[in-house]
């Protein structure tokens, strides 16, 4: 029974991609034609300048540089963001203290203010600190819009962690490291991975902050796509191609995370480990890639 539904879902998910792929390969595609009347490969021979994918693949388009920049920055932002947000989320999830509501609101503040409003302030700070126009500056600036998502989602993940399990493990002699290694990480991994993916995607989609803090010199796929859309928003072949490229880093990150998670989501095994940390020795081998 599932096969039909699954293929329907797959078709629905693939449909917008199919439209983008066709648009990126079109030369002449006008209403009401269902498919392009002339394709890119039929026209490229006569073109004086590179068209469609020829342009996207050319060094002048800087598409590959943009992709590499996007992936590097988004990856680094995810790591830095997790390092900052996870401890905070943990405290928020498990502790009660005065002023907690205020702290929570403050942590969410970047979500409430539009990106445009924070971009110029961040750019000014970046110039003052001397990181404007560099990857470092953009990386640090991206942490700001990424944090609220991370704190919020990680807090939800942490709430789901029953600390009695940790207490029980400690009572039975597990060290703090054992608890982290064999209990917390395996149990929280799926949730943390989902948060990390969120952070990665947010960073890969930030435009105004990237342009202003990077002083235009740090080009990501998102800023490149936005430059195209500034021309009027037509889905011409090159814009379609950039839109497709834009989905690449996120898709790759998703696939990698799923592969990592598949080997970690065996909760029963994890619980076994919690009861008998010594059994972790052989498990460790299968966990490491």
């Amino acid at each position: 029974m599932n096969a039909g539904i699954r293929s329907l879902a797959a078709a629905l998910a693939a449909l917008p991609f199919a439209a983008l792929v066709i648009a990126s390969l079109a030369f002449r595609w006008t209403w009401p034609d269902l498919l392009p009347s002339t394709w890119w490969w039929e026209a490229r021979g006569e073109a004086r300048l590179p068209i469609g994918w020829d342009y996207v693949a050319s060094p002048a388009a800087r598409a590959w540089v943009g992709l590499a920049t996007t992936a590097t920055i988004a990856g680094a932002v995810t790591v830095v963001g997790l390092a900052i947000a996870w401890p905070a989320a943990r405290v928020l999830a498990h502790e009660r203290f005065r002023g907690k509501a205020v702290v929570e609101t403050l942590l969410l503040a970047p979500l409430l203010v539009p990106e445009l409003a924070i971009a110029l302030g961040l750019a000014t700070v970046a110039v003052q600190v001397g990181v404007a126009g560099s990857w470092w500056g953009v990386l640090l600036a991206h942490v700001v819009p990424v944090l609220p998502y991370l704190v919020r989602t990680l807090a939800a993940v942490e709430v789901g962690f029953d600390r009695d399990l940790a207490d029980a493990a400690r009572v039975h002699g597990a060290s703090a490291w054992d608890v982290l290694r064999y209990l917390r990480l395996p149990l929280l991994a799926p949730g943390v991975a989902a948060s990390a993916l969120f952070a990665f995607l947010v960073s890969a989609h930030v435009v105004v902050v990237t342009v202003l803090v990077g002083q235009g010199r740090v080009e990501t796929t998102a800023t490149q796509l936005f430059a195209r859309l500034g021309g009027g928003g037509a889905l011409d072949p090159i814009t379609a191609a950039f839109a497709l490229l834009m989905t690449l880093p996120g898709l790759v990150a998703l696939v990698i995370l799923q592969r990592v998670l598949r080997s970690q989501t065996d909760v029963a095994a994890v619980s076994r480990l919690a009861r008998d940390p010594g059994a972790g020795a052989d498990r460790t081998r299968t966990l490491t890639p």
């Binding site: 110029l120 700001v144 944090l147 002083q215 430059a227 500034g230």
Partner: protein, 476 residues
């Protein structure tokens, strides 16, 4: 966590974090989040300049430096950061294949910085100035700019200075303040450039038709003919919705024609006119636009209100024409029909038409050096190189960017080379386009026209036209 946990475990540091650490964790995240609270400080009056660069600027602007000395200094600076809108694949390709090698031969590395919007380049300059970075300290050396963005730099006193007549290729431009014909080189949508920017792109409003559906000879040449055609063939015309600039330009054409006084009354700041006078100038055009509305695409025909389709942008309008839904569309480049056909966006049967006769607005965009430039000599060398005849010709030939220099400054043989290397104009001649060109209105009119259109056309206001205009003047 349910509250019923055993107290003996509550204080057990099972999570490995002590209290100070806990607060530290929150504080770190809160600080990062609070970075946004730092509003941009106002531009500092005392920009921190590099004295050596100031000396160079003063010597150059005083005319005390030979061009060779500028070239020499540009080589020392070694690079130039040119900020420009980065969404045109043609422009990007041309810069990488023509401009970069040309400047490399002069010992200057061109960094073409592609911004999604020119406003971003202005924001980068403002952010530099906000923390006091002046000449010799900023990120932007040269910027392709016009309109509001130029006005923002002008208003904040962030322009390098009057350089346009001091570069060798200034000979190709009429920069004589006393000559009315030079206004197009010396006014940027009404803002005096005071030679602080040099023309680089020449836009001219031009319309095009698909010859299969509407012969160029049958295309309207005036708004009177446009109205007749719309009544004759209902649902086959439309225009872009203001405030998109292509839409505003269409309405401006109707206004210039409708007022019967040409473009002259509109070259002044609108604030200097009485509301009644503004209404008198605008009324004929807006009444016509209201009359033709039922006959536009989706308009429903005679007597009906319908819901006409106003495309949001010029590319959307182009798609309506390419899809055969409308018979005429307009753009801001005289070679648009040619380029569109070459790129497959338009059918091969597309032709350019002269519309509206005597009211095809021309405006130029410019290259400007900000007062924060780190490499002003290299910026001057690049601006000069981009202003050469050969540079304009290669840009014209390869990517169809119209000449921004003045062709009456060229010799007969140079002019024939321009014609030879121009893309096909598809049915019109240079002379016809030039004969029907008018300068753009003073920028102050744009906001008024857009607001009147919104209320009088889009919202079909029942108010008196004079009141609609008066309100638009106040809101502007």
């Amino acid at each position: 966590m349910p509250p019923g946990r055993h107290t003996c475990f509550r204080r057990t540091p099972t999570n490995g974090l002590g209290t100070p650490l806990r607060w530290g964790a929150l504080l770190l995240a809160a600080c990062a989040s609070a970075a946004l609270a730092l509003a941009p400080p106002p531009i500092r009056a005392d920009l921190d300049h590099d004295p050596a660069v100031i000396e160079f600027r003063d010597d150059f602007l005083a005319g005390d430096l030979a061009w060779d000395a500028v070239l020499e200094r540009a080589r020392t600076e070694g690079e130039v950061r040119w900020y420009h809108w980065g969404g045109s694949e043609d422009l990007n390709t041309w810069i990488e294949s023509v401009v970069v090698p040309e400047l490399a031969a002069l010992g200057v590395r061109v960094q073409s910085v592609r911004v999604p919007d020119t406003r971003d380049a202005v924001d980068v300059i403002l952010a530099d100035a906000a923390v006091g970075r002046g000449l010799g300290r900023g990120a932007v050396d040269l910027v392709w700019i016009n309109g509001d963005n130029f006005r923002a730099l002008d208003a904040n006193d962030l322009l390098f200075g009057p350089f346009a007549d001091l570069v060798p290729n200034a000979v190709y431009f009429n920069l004589d303040e006393s000559d009315p014909a030079a206004a197009v080189n010396l006014r940027d949508l009404g803002t005096p450039t005071l030679l602080r920017s040099i023309p680089w792109f020449a836009g001219q409003y031009v319309c095009y038709v698909d010859g299969v559906r509407l012969e160029p000879e049958d295309a309207p040449r005036t708004f009177v003919e446009l109205e007749a055609l719309a009544r004759e063939r209902p649902g086959r015309l439309t225009y872009v919705r203001p405030p998109n600039y292509i839409g505003t330009a269409f309405v401006q054409g109707a206004i210039v024609e409708g007022s019967g006084e040409g473009v002259t009354p509109f070259l002044r700041d609108v604030a200097t006119l009485e509301p009644a006078e503004v209404a008198r100038l605008l009324r004929p055009a807006f009444e016509r636009l209201r009359r033709i509305e039922p006959f536009l695409l989706g308009g429903g025909g005679d007597g009906a209100r319908g819901s006409p389709v106003y495309p949001p942008t010029a590319p959307a309008w182009e798609r309506l024409l390419a899809g055969g839904e409308v018979d005429m569309a307009c753009e801001d480049n005289i070679f648009h029909a040619s380029l569109g056909a070459e790129r497959g966006r338009l059918p091969g049967s597309v032709g350019t038409v002269i519309f509206p006769e005597g009211a095809m607005r021309v405006n130029k965009s410019f290259l400007a050096i900000p007062a924060t430039a780190s490499n002003p000599a290299a910026a001057l060398v690049l601006a000069n190189s981009l202003s050469s005849l050969e540079s304009h010709l290669s840009k014209l030939e390869l990517i169809g960017f119209p000449l921004a220099l003045d062709t009456d400054r060229l010799t007969a043989s140079q002019r024939s080379e321009v014609e030879r290397r121009s893309p096909d104009l598809r049915g019109v001649r240079y002379e016809d386009l030039a004969a029907n060109a008018v300068p753009d209105m003073h920028a102050s009119w744009v906001g008024v026209i857009d607001r009147v259109w919104e209320r009088w056309i889009a919202l079909a206001s029942d108010d008196e036209f004079v009141d609609v205009v008066a309100r638009a003047l106040v809101e502007r």
